[in-house]
């Protein structure tokens, strides 16, 4: 029943109009169909075109991410050659049970003593040079050093103030005292022997006394003892 058309209904429907697609539309579609026929079975519009763009973008993003992660990991890895360089002396002190705070306290005490003993000396003799300061570089003294180093000839008052500072800039033999805390006992004895050889007996005596105070159980060989002790 419903497969049969109602003539009246069909006629009225036809009266609505007989619209057709434009000629341009026809030509565009027919041209596309002919192009597709020429390309045999190739798809007219590549269905994967949009996806191909996604793949390319995704691959680029992954590449950038991989490079970024690699660079970041390399930056965070410690330099294997840098590890044994600076902390070695500190480690040896720790092995001896000598902490940095103790070292600082002793340095201060020594500085006080030396200041009193060496006051008659010329300022130029006791003024530390930057080169002498260089080997001793505890980071906590950095601020104080920065203030002192650029001034070649500070006033006497300032000199005294700086002598009381944590760093023993005004010590009579800063190279010895500065390195004393870091040197091994053997090396320290060699330094004392050098002082003795140079005729700096007072400094050598003090250094030896400090050595014995620091390493009371260390047995100095006879040969070394002759070098470090003052000959009478």
């Amino acid at each position: 029943m419903t497969d049969e058309r109602d003539p009246k209904l069909s006629r009225r429907y036809r009266e609505l109009g007989a619209e057709e697609p434009s000629r341009e539309l026809d030509q565009g579609i027919l041209a596309a169909a002919h192009r597709a026929a020429d390309k045999a079975h190739a798809p007219l519009v590549t269905p994967a075109g949009r996806h191909r763009w996604y793949f390319a973008f995704g691959a680029a993003a992954i590449l950038v991410l991989a490079v970024a992660v690699t660079v970041q990991v390399e930056r965070q890895q410690p330099d294997p050659e840098a590890i044994p360089a600076s902390p070695a002396p500190v480690r040896s002190d720790r092995e001896e049970g000598f902490s940095y705070q103790q070292e600082q306290q002793e340095d201060r005490k020594r500085a006080e003593v030396r200041k009193q003993l060496e006051r008659p000396k010329a300022l130029s003799e006791v003024a530390p040079t930057p080169a002498q300061e260089a080997p001793r570089a505890p980071s906590r003294d950095a601020a104080n050093r920065v203030e002192v180093e650029p001034k070649p000839a500070p006033a006497p008052e300032k000199r005294e103030q700086s002598a009381a500072a944590p760093a023993p800039q005004a010590a009579p033999s800063p190279e010895v005292m500065a390195s004393a805390a870091r040197l091994s006992p053997e090396r320290l004895l060699e330094r004392i022997a050098e002082l003795r050889k140079e005729g700096r007996h007072d400094e050598a005596d003090k250094a030896l006394a400090e050595f014995r105070q620091r390493y009371p159980d260390y047995r100095i060989s006879d040969e070394m003892l002759q070098k470090v002790e003052r000959r009478k």
């Binding site: 029943m1 419903t2 497969d3 058309r5 109602d6 009246k8 209904l9 069909s10 009225r12 429907y13 009266e15 609505l16 109009g17 007989a18 619209e19 057709e20 697609p21 434009s22 539309l25 026809d26 565009g28 579609i29 027919l30 596309a32 169909a33 002919h34 597709a36 026929a37 020429d38 045999a40 079975h41 798809p43 007219l44 519009v45 269905p47």
Partner: protein, 169 residues
């Protein structure tokens, strides 16, 4: 279509000439805006061209064509509102020289168009497929992915409502 699939471009020309106007009106009366209808119409034919390789003559080409058209129209309905094309811009053929009769015919046609527009989308589509594309009930069911009973029911309701609109003339 099989000839076109085999590379005969002329076969497509013949197919296109046979279906172009009816398919265009089906789309146009399913969608209000002509520009959108043209775009959709082009998409349908492009889909036909793309799918030529997978075409299997299990049904009439017309059913296959309107299945594609149905899917595209449904997609369009989902994207935005749906409506039939307005008849405001359509001029009734001046078959009668009498201006009064001409105006009356125009009003009757407007009532019919309004009745068609008021139909539920599924009923309107069933009527358009039947009237414009010439599909049978079973073909309408196949094209709209429904069963024959549903297609038959939709078509019957649509025709009854439109006849009622005609009886008011």
């Amino acid at each position: 279509m099989l000839a076109y699939r085999g590379g005969d471009a002329g076969a497509f020309d013949r197919l296109y000439a046979r279906h172009r106007a009816r398919l265009f009106r089906f789309v146009l009366r399913s969608i209000k805006v002509r520009a959108a209808a043209e775009e959709l119409y082009q998409e349908i034919w492009m889909r036909v061209i793309e799918a030529r390789g997978s075409y299997k003559p299990t049904a009439r080409f017309t059913t296959w064509l309107y299945t594609i058209a149905h899917n595209r129209v449904v997609d369009h309905w989902r994207r935005g509102g749906l409506s039939l094309v307005s008849l405001d811009d359509h001029e009734v053929p001046a078959s009668s020289p009498d201006p009064a009769q001409h105006a009356e015919a125009r009003e009757a046609l407007a009532r019919f168009a309004a009745a068609l527009e008021r139909l539920p989308p599924a009923q309107r589509e069933a009527f358009l497929l039947h009237e414009e594309a010439g599909l049978t009930v079973s073909e309408i069911a196949a094209a709209t992915a429904s069963n024959e009973e549903a297609a038959k029911s939709r078509l019957r309701y649509a025709m009854a409502k439109l006849k009622a609109a005609l009886d008011d003339d």
